[in-house]
Symmetry: C2
Subunit: 233 residues, 2 copies
């Protein structure tokens, strides 16, 4: 009775197939592989069809359009995040583990960055994750809407911290720049900003990866401290 077309992947049953290698799950799995290997621009229906030894348009039997396929692929990787059982007493441990889990999955599938701002996380895997994370905050003692606020804050932090990392990673991978090239670019561009230049010098003695991880941990624990304060007051 919705009147208009109004469709969503999550409202339709997936189509089953007789011939093997041809099902929504298979297609989504192959799409994820292709995305991992070649990025968002590397995924085309024709390439995906070829990978599955099918015509490009055959896939449209299982999937309404490419956007839907991307929604499915997006939800798929939400399923990869390891998340300990909710536990109110050890909510910080659980939350820290969840944050690192999210970050790991994002780094593994750099193309998520392109979908975060386009696809609402409404798939079963995404909801499952969110739901369990929410339960953790609830058991920790948050109440009412603040349960959701805390959950959102936590996921927001991980997204926001990891996305720019992915931007670097992508820019890196697609052009063949050496570390020295990148450094010289940044040095040049940062010239008019003494503060940034100074911090770049300080960081350049250390391993980039390590700095990123320290930064992530610093922000994460700060944020959790802040949330914890909201709790005991």
């Amino acid at each position: 009775m919705t009147g208009k077309s109004f469709s969503s992947v999550w409202l339709r049953e997936p189509r089953r197939s007789t011939s093997p290698g041809r099902s929504r799950e298979e297609i989504v799995r192959a799409a994820v592989e292709l995305l991992d290997a070649e990025g968002l621009n590397g995924l085309s229906m024709r390439k995906l069809g070829a990978k599955l030894m099918a015509g490009a348009t055959s896939l449209y039997w299982y999937v309404a359009n490419k956007d839907e396929l991307l929604e499915l692929a997006y939800d798929e990787i939400w399923g990869e995040i390891e998340l300990p059982e909710p536990s109110g007493a050890r909510w910080r441990e659980v939350t820290v583990a969840a944050a690192h889990g999210m970050r790991r999955v994002m780094l593994r599938h750099a193309w998520v960055a392109d979908l975060l701002g386009r696809v609402p996380a409404l798939g079963p895997h995404a909801l499952g994750f969110t739901s369990r994370l929410r339960a953790t905050f609830q058991e920790a003692g948050f109440q009412g809407l603040e349960i959701d606020y805390a959950t959102s804050t936590m996921t927001a932090y991980v997204f926001g911290m990891t996305i720019p990392e992915l931007a670097w990673q992508v820019k890196y991978a697609e052009s063949e720049l050496t570390d020295a090239d990148v450094r010289s670019l940044v040095e040049h561009v940062v010239k008019d900003h003494p503060g940034l230049a100074e911090s770049m010098n300080a960081a350049s003695a250390l391993d980039t990866r390590e700095v990123r991880e320290m930064c992530f941990a610093f922000g994460l624990h700060s944020m959790l401290d802040g949330l914890e304060r909201r709790l005991v007051t």
Copy 2:
């Protein structure tokens, strides 16, 4: 002496033009307008050319390729963020204002979400903003790498909190769903997750926009509390 091609917009001088309406700045401004109106997929070189009463390929005189144009557009909107003068004493005020400024600009230019994960923020406007924000944290009392950690944490939070909002906004705008349609979709999809369903019910009595803003403020202040704690210890 870099050996390889290795180019970046930020290393090349923009080309000047004789005929009016044709310059890097004009083109970028028009691109931003088009992006605002039609989103990332709505921007094509041909449409942009038409808007400027120029052939599509004329633009390539001023801009190496579309990616470069997007980098320029991305940096352009960094310049729109209002940021008070750095002030150590009132660093929280400044930071809160900066966060809301970022959020406002993002909501105004929903397509940033598509670029955050693809384009490193190396343009002059982005660096200017970052540099001044950094100065604020420095004057607040942070030291060494922690100045940058705090800065990153803050921007990460704003990005991460706003991006999913943009996803909804986009999905909304491009399909013509009514509020009721959206609610029924979410209700349906959330059925297996009692916690989420409950919180949805609690929130549905309130104005969506208001809830989003309360959530944003809650997380922001939590995060700043956490950072402040790092400071006094």
